[in-house]
C-alpha cells in the first residue's frame, strides 16, 4: 500500500514535470522541471530496488548532465522562444491518434500482465553485484564505453573551441 502511494506521488511529480517542460517557454524553466523529473525518477528506481541506478541517476543525470545544460543556457543567454502555429493536420489527426494509441497501449499493458514488484526495502541490485556484472559479463561494452567517452570529450573540445583564424575574411577561401 505504501509502495503504491509512493509510486503514485512521485509518478505524478514525474508527469507534472514532463508536462511543465513542454509548457514552459524559457529554457531554464524547462531545465529545472527536467531536474524535478529526474529526481523523482530516482525515487521510482529506489522503489524498484535499484539503489545503484538511483544514486547514479542523481549524480550523473541530475548532477552532471543538467549542470551542463544549465551552464550552456546561461552561456548562450537563451531567451524565451517564440511560438509558431503548428500545422492543422497535426492538431486534427495527431492529438486524437495519440489519445487512441495511448489508451490502447495502457489498456493492453494493464490487462495482460501479472502483478509483480519488490518489497519495500528489498534491494535486489546491490552495487557489488552490479560491479561484478559490469566487469565480468559486460567487460567489452564497458571498455567500448570508455572509448566512446574519450571520443566524446575530444569531439566536444574540438567543436566548442574557437577556431584560431586571424583574419575573418580568410575563412571563405578554404
Amino acid at each position: 500500500m505504501l509502495h503504491l502511494v509512493l509510486f503514485s506521488v512521485f509518478g505524478a511529480i514525474c508527469v507534472a514535470g514532463a508536462v511543465n517542460l513542454l509548457v514552459q517557454r524559457h529554457p531554464i524553466n524547462s531545465a529545472l522541471s527536467l531536474i524535478a523529473v529526474m529526481a523523482s525518477l530516482a525515487v521510482e528506481y529506489l522503489l524498484l530496488g535499484a539503489e545503484f541506478v538511483a544514486a547514479v541517476q542523481v549524480i550523473i543525470y541530475a548532477g552532471a548532465i543538467m549542470v551542463l545544460f544549465v551552464f550552456v543556457i546561461m552561456l548562450l543567454n537563451a531567451g524565451e522562444e517564440e511560438r509558431v502555429g503548428g500545422s492543422r493536420v497535426a492538431i486534427v489527426f495527431g492529438i486524437p491518434g495519440m489519445l487512441v494509441g495511448s489508451v490502447l497501449t495502457a489498456w493492453v499493458l494493464l490487462r495482460y500482465s501479472g502483478t509483480s514488484g519488490v518489497e519495500l526495502g528489498a534491494m535486489p541490485g546491490p552495487p557489488k553485484t552490479i560491479g561484478w556484472l559490469l566487469f565480468h559479463d559486460f567487460l567489452l561494452p564497458f571498455e567500448v564505453t570508455s572509448i566512446l567517452i574519450l571520443i566524446a570529450i575530444m569531439g566536444a573540445v574540438v567543436l566548442a573551441s574557437r577556431e584560431e583564424i586571424p583574419a575573418p575574411g580568410e575563412r571563405g577561401e578554404v
Partner: protein, 100 residues
C-alpha cells in the same frame, strides 16, 4: 507492491512527452532536453523489467544508456555552441542551411 504495467505506463508517458517536446519545441536546447526525457523514460522501463525478471543486466544497461546520454550531451551542447557562434540564434527554424 506496484504492478509492472504501472511502471511501463509511466515510462510510456514520459517517452511520449519527450517525443511531443521534440516535435513542438523551437528552442534547440529544449529539444535536446526532450531527448534526455525520452532516454529517462526508457531507463525506467529497463529498471522495471530488471525488477520484474530479477535480472540485473537491465540495470547495467541503464548504466550504459546514461553513459551514452552523457557523451551525447557533451557533443550536442558543443554543437549548439558552435551553431550559436555561426548563426547567432537558437531557433531551429532559422538553422536551415541544408534546406532547398
Amino acid at each position: 507492491m506496484v504492478p509492472l504495467p504501472y511502471y511501463l505506463v509511466l515510462s510510456g508517458i514520459l517517452f511520449a512527452c519527450g517525443v511531443t517536446g521534440f516535435l513542438i519545441k523551437r528552442n534547440i536546447i529544449t529539444i535536446f532536453m526532450s531527448i534526455e526525457l525520452m532516454l529517462n523514460g526508457v531507463n525506467l522501463s529497463f529498471v522495471a523489467f530488471a525488477a520484474h525478471w530479477h535480472a540485473l543486466s537491465g540495470q547495467v544497461f541503464v548504466f550504459f544508456v546514461m553513459v551514452v546520454a552523457a557523451a551525447e550531451a557533451a557533443v550536442g551542447l558543443a554543437i549548439i555552441i558552435a551553431v550559436y557562434r555561426t548563426r547567432e540564434t537558437l531557433n531551429v527554424d532559422q538553422v536551415n542551411l541544408l534546406k532547398l
